[in-house]
């Protein structure tokens, strides 16, 4: 690590030698600090915090001078707030880079985030709410030799909390290449064509050193060493087509043999297909999407099972909800295998019609479904399981019998008058707990309603009333027992002050106490700085963003956030 920091400082300190006017550049940045103080609460399962106060903080500082950019992010987890991995504990420079553009090249040294296509074989990104950061550390070159042609090359290792990734061969080396061609930009005749065509292809390979892993026959005691592939390759091809109101985006990816802890150390090759199609005109839009994911966990360490060291990203095809009761049963992408479909229809009822009234009305319908793959297990190993075997066979177009998640939701958004705006939402969800790793639990069937009324008071003030209801006969987990009701009132003053009160009430709990999860918040914004303070109870649950999830433990106490940018 020291060597890397030294090299980085050297790079920066030597830069003025070949660059003029570096001090005439521009410095920008932002800052966020979260404090949490929570007390023990046995009713909701909140555990005692020995430190009394926990804190997560980071600041980004970016220096730009012409075609040269350098930046850093300092992070501090002293100690990590609840729900964040304890391995984040500590402080330091988590991200630093320098990049410059010259002719048709853009070169980045140090940390970077990057994505090839839809991310099926490579996506390096940060999702702070999930505690996920798989930033690359190495080199990236982007070449744009002609208009419409972009070629990206990457090499490096991925961040793993504060570990010195360069000191150990446990962390794999990621190499990749991506090329994307916009035919409309490249070919003169197609410049003004209504048919827009973009083609792309990627290759990514991870070097994971051979490690000793054995299959032990429990009866004979014989041990069978697994012959691990050290270079795990993957390739993807994609196309994006748009013609007037239509658009189509499709990508297919294939991954080589990659026995790992997530797939149970099977040698079956991975495969992913993702397709979206849409039609959109004024007042009407429809989007349909489908995907198949088959053994596509791709990490730069084969023993890793959490959210870290993901080389790729597998998008979820379910609605992303902002209303908390709608998101109580979230869907986690099944990297070992799933098939999913989603359809969205948006329709705007015109003004001055019977239903549209004076201001019109927006309608949205969403349907999504995710099921297992149709799997036929093949030969077992001498120990009687599937480690070190091909695992299974699966027909590409055939869905499995097991439903993971299904939802239909409907949303109506209507401006009632100059001062009132109403949103109504309904969702019916079928949730299989197996999708978040809980085997043997019963399915959850939930009806969820929301009504959100915003009342404008004067020119810049508003009051918002929100009511949510969740009805279910099932009692899943300690955080989702029976029926729920949530009421919120929020006051906004001149756009820079707000105060809100929320009560999330588990009134249908048939097992334990009918807990009120109340929460009071106030926030104030001055320029680019915002301060927010909350006090209340947070129920235990799961948060999922883009199909990637983490557990959120229960808490009872204060939460403060300061954000700022310059």
């Amino acid at each position: 690590m020291k060597k890397v920091v030294f090299a980085f400082l050297f790079l920066f300190s030597s830069f003025p030698i070949f660059s003029q006017g570096i001090l005439g550049g521009r410095v920008t940045g932002n800052f966020q600090m979260d404090f949490q103080a929570s007390r023990q609460d046995s009713v909701i399962g909140a555990e005692k915090i020995n430190e009394k106060v926990l804190m997560n903080a980071f600041t980004n500082i970016l220096y730009t001078n012409g075609d040269f950019t350098m930046g850093m992010r300092f992070e501090a987890y002293l100690n990590p707030i609840l729900g964040f991995d304890k391995q984040y504990k500590g402080a330091g420079l988590a991200y630093r880079f320098a990049s410059y553009k010259k002719d048709f090249l853009e070169i980045t040294a140090g940390n970077y985030y990057e994505q090839f296509g839809n991310g099926l074989i490579f996506r390096s990104y940060e999702e702070r709410n999930l505690g996920l950061d798989n930033a690359m550390d190495g080199l990236r070159i982007v070449a744009r030799p002609f208009e419409g042609v972009a070629i990206k090359g990457i090499i490096g290792k991925q961040r793993y909390y504060w570990e010195d990734i360069w000191a150990s061969d446990d962390f794999g080396l990621v190499r990749g290449l991506d090329a994307e061609i916009s035919l409309n930009s490249l070919i003169k005749k197609m410049n003004n064509s209504p048919l827009q065509l973009i083609l792309g292809g990627s290759f990514v390979s991870v070097y994971n050193k051979q490690d000793d892993r054995f299959v032990i026959d429990p009866i004979s005691g014989d041990s069978y060493k697994m012959n691990m592939p050290e270079n795990i390759g993957s390739a993807a091809a994609r196309v994006a087509i748009s013609y007037k109101a239509f658009n189509l985006n499709a990508e297919y990816a294939k991954k080589g043999e990659d026995p790992n802890a997530v797939n149970g150390y099977i040698f079956r090759k991975g495969e992913a297909a993702y397709i979206t199609a849409g039609y959109s005109v004024k007042g009407f839009g429809v989007n349909v999407a489908a995907k198949r994911i088959d053994n596509m966990s791709f990490k730069s360490r084969r023993s890793e099972t959490g959210n870290m060291l993901n080389v790729n990203y597998l998008p979820a095809l379910t609605a992303q909800h902002t209303y908390s009761l709608f998101a109580m049963y979230p869907y986690a992408t099944q990297v070992n295998g799933e098939m999913g479909i989603q359809a969205d229809i948006m329709y705007k009822i015109k003004k001055k019609t019977f239903l549209g009234g004076k201001y019109g009305m927006d309608l949205k319908l969403n349907y999504s479904r995710a099921t297992s793959l149709d799997k036929n297990m093949v030969n077992k190993n001498p120990a009687g399981n599937y480690e070190g075997t091909l695992g299974y066979e699966s027909s590409f177009f055939k869905m499995g019998d097991e439903l993971y998640f299904e939802e239909i939701n409907f949303e109506v958004n209507k401006k009632l008058s100059n001062n009132y705006k109403l949103l109504l939402m309904y969702s019916y969800q079928t949730f299989n707990p197996i999708a978040i790793g809980h085997y043997g639990e019963e399915f959850v069937y939930a009806n969820v309603f929301a009504a959100d009324l915003t009342q404008k008071i004067g020119k810049r003030n508003s009051l918002r009333y929100e009511l949510q209801l969740l009805f279910t006969e099932q009692n899943y987990g300690s955080w989702a027992l029976g029926n729920w009701l949530q009421a919120t009132m929020e006051f906004n003053l001149k756009g820079n002050f707000f105060a809100s009160a929320t009560d999330q009430w588990n009134y249908g709990n048939k097992v334990g106490e009918k807990v009120h999860y109340y929460n009071f918040s106030i926030g104030y914004t001055i320029g680019t700085t915002r301060i927010q303070l909350s006090y209340g109870k947070q129920r235990e649950g799961i948060i999922c963003i883009g199909g990637v999830c983490r557990m959120v433990p229960a808490s009872n106490g204060l939460f403060a956030t300061i954000t700022s940018s310059f």
């Binding site: 070449a143 090329a179 290759f203 009866i219």
Partner: protein, 293 residues
Amino acid sequence: MKINMKENIKSILCSIVLISLMVFLSCDNIEEDNFLVYPKGQTSQSTPITKNTSKQRILLEDYTGWKCTNCPRAAQKAAELITKYGEELVVMAVHSTSWATPSAANNNLDFRTEYGEKWADKFSCTALPTGLISRINSSGTFTNSDATWDNKIQEALSLKEHIMDINLGVELKEDNKVLVSTENVFLKPVSYPTLISIMIVESGIKGVQLNGDATFGAVPKIEDYTFNHVLRKNALIDYSLSSNGVESGTTISKNYILDIDNDIKDIENCEVIVFVSNSQTSEIVQVNHIEIQ
């Protein structure tokens, strides 16, 4: 300018192809047979099971040697017992001790094996001919004179508990190897560790045998004596089948690959013998044999 553009495109496309090839090739592809590195002698390949056992079988190990003048008598006895007991009896001729040491007098025909010598030593087979009946230790001794073999086999068949069956499949491979698939079905629980041994025996080998009894051929030596059930080299001996107890109903399937002994005269005259033994007492729990097709 156009030429430059074309040249640039050409070089960039070449670069893309080369780099893509490099990245694509940096992908290890392991053949299914090599996913697991099997212990020596074992393999992931298998061949269909064609020979089952459904009752208890007995292994007669005939310890013999070409210099042993009474051994033709014992061999004759073994042949008679095969006729009598049929599939219930499996015979293996173990040429061992100094009685089997080759010399110019027998044209240096050597049937000895490393494990045959060890067994002879372990079970005290020094005075030949002698035989082991499923390696049953009877009153402190394993060996039995050929005169008692019939009685001992009868006794073993009536007293020995039918604990397991060994079902076999065999396939001659092109690379001078024999693939043996075993399906070991435990009919009763077993509390001791068990070992499995797989070997090839050959019949119909002509050679010199000393003889002291004219009933069995020329005396003092038979020039064109036929040796049967000769234990050959490259066997897999005492591989672990179960390291602890095994429950009733358990089936353990294992596949073995044997190198064919270069001394074998005719593979079509060979058969594979597989036996499972109690690792604590050495007694053979079950045995089966199958011809190599």
